[in-house]
């Protein structure tokens, strides 16, 4: 079962690679590099010690922003979903935060706080937070009334409610926020790095972009995507499986 699951994905990825390789060798333009060229670019970046360092710097920014955005956004979102009053007050602010261009936030923060790390990370958090809130607000709205009543009658502690009632119900929404969140944060980190940091994948991408070095651009993108794919395989998918164990269709008793 487990091996077939992985092998399916490996097959899908291989097909993708083969298709890319075919198209690339057919077109044969430096603007659509073949897998091999991208791999060479990757190993060049690796050899010249930029790859790992940039990845680490960017990942660090991603992780910090992710944690803060998820925590704050999650709490605000759930509260908005639960309490109409909170929702009514915060909703217009949420809309503003959600739709204010990343560029604007980044610029304003850089202007006000200078080109410092804190401004960069704060910009990312402000960009991501409303997304998490919007997602978890729907989660908060869909809370099961009957289970809530049950937990009150059976005197569940706040901690028990959190672990056994709220978390499982929020789970799909948390997974959405996590998956699209990781992606979004990483994309914003790129813009932030592009506009005012001197290291990280975004900076390297920008350099490669300036000379239209598509192979290097793809190499950095793939490097980060691989990291996310690993997170997906070793953290998110096991969580998914664990969470679906109780469902009707599962083979678990």
């Amino acid at each position: 079962m487990k091996s077939s699951r992985l092998s399916d994905q490996v097959i899908a990825l291989t097909c993708l690679l083969a298709g890319w390789w075919l198209v690339a060798s057919f077109v044969s333009s430096p603007l659509l590099p073949a897998p091999l060229e991208v791999f060479e670019a990757l190993s060049k970046e690796f050899r010249e010690q930029r790859l790992v360092e940039s990845l680490l710097v960017t990942l660090q920014r991603v992780v910090i922003s992710f944690v803060f955005a998820m925590l704050l956004g999650g709490i605000v979102g759930v509260l908005m979903g639960r309490f109409r009053f909170v929702n009514r007050i915060l909703d217009p602010i949420l809309i503003i935060l959600l739709n204010i261009p990343a560029l604007v936030v980044i610029i304003l923060l850089y202007i006000w706080f200078g080109l410092v790390e804190v401004a960069a990370v704060a910009a990312v958090i402000i960009n991501k937070l409303p997304n998490v809130a919007v997602t978890l607000r729907e989660g908060g709205r869909m809370f099961d009334h009957e289970l809530e009543e049950m937990s009150v009658m059976y005197k569940f502690s706040v901690q028990q409610k959190l672990v056994h009632i709220w978390w499982p119900q929020l789970f799909p929404y948390i997974m959405i926020a996590t998956r699209s969140g990781l992606a979004l944060i990483w994309k914003i980190v790129l813009v932030v790095e592009l506009l005012g940091r001197s290291n990280g994948v975004g900076f390297q991408l920008h350099l490669a972009f300036q000379s239209f070095d598509v192979a290097t651009i793809l190499a950095y993108s793939l490097a980060f995507i691989s990291v996310v794919q690993l997170i997906e395989w070793f953290i998110l998918q096991p969580l998914d499986r664990k969470a679906s164990r109780w469902q009707k269709g599962s083979s678990h008793v």
Partner: protein, 225 residues
């Protein structure tokens, strides 16, 4: 003795309950009968504090339109539906209420579900889920137990055993009171110390009597509308 007073309850612009009060003596069992849709569950929810209506008192303040005398007891509530956490196994569901595994297992044995401790609720039958919910309710030790039709969807012998269990753990308990909703007149007469019947719309108490003074004929008449 616990006495619950309702001045009325309106849900979604419709009056469900009219003014009524329910009295349960300490250590006794009171049975609540009434046709489907008469408002039994709503009344129980109100007693449990899950539903509430505020009325405007003189002076513009609001106060609750229902109250307990002499004070609100600690309440355990067996809901009409099992309401188990679908993402937790039977055992995990019960351990949330009573952390001592042995006690839980012993009660599970009494309802003949000791083999299903690791099942998720979606993998057991409705009757089994009801028994799990019953166990969960019996694990509590409240002053007043509210039970909403605990023995439906069970076959006769199982229902009889459950009844014995309830009798032993709740009815015969010297200080534990119970309010028991059922559609089964036999069950009511067997378990209870007093009986009332809910009827009309909005719901009123249309019959109320100690068990020894109950007129079975009158009860049957009333329950036939």
């Amino acid at each position: 003795m616990f006495e619950f007073h309702v001045e009325g309850l309106t849900l979604s612009q419709r009056q469900i309950l009219s003014a009524l009060n329910i009295k349960v003596n300490s250590g006794e069992t009171h049975c609540l009968l009434g046709p489907s849709g008469s408002g039994k569950t709503t009344l129980l929810n109100l007693m449990a504090g899950l539903e509430q209506e505020n009325v405007e008192a003189i002076g513009g303040e609001t106060r609750r339109a229902n109250y307990w005398l002499p004070h609100k007891p600690e309440i355990g509530y067996l809901f009409q539906q099992p309401r188990l956490l679908p993402w937790r196994t039977i055992m995990q569901n019960l351990l949330l209420v009573e952390p001592n595994e042995e006690i839980v297992l012993k009660l599970l044995e009494e309802v003949k579900l000791q083999d299903y401790v690791d099942y998720y609720p979606s993998k057991i039958s409705l009757g089994m889920a009801r028994r799990v919910a019953l166990v969960r309710c019996l694990l509590l030790e409240p002053e007043l137990v509210l039970m909403d039709e605990p023995l439906t969807s069970l076959d006769l012998p199982t229902a009889r055993e459950m009844r014995v269990l309830i009798k032993r753990l709740v009815c015969d308990h010297p200080t534990r009171s119970m309010l028991y909703v059922t559609h089964d007149l036999e069950e009511a007469l067997e378990l209870s110390d007093s009986v009332s019947v809910l009827g009309n719309s909005p719901a009123q108490v249309i019959y109320n009597s100690r068990i020894d003074a109950v007129s079975r004929q009158e009860l049957e008449m009333l329950l036939k509308h």
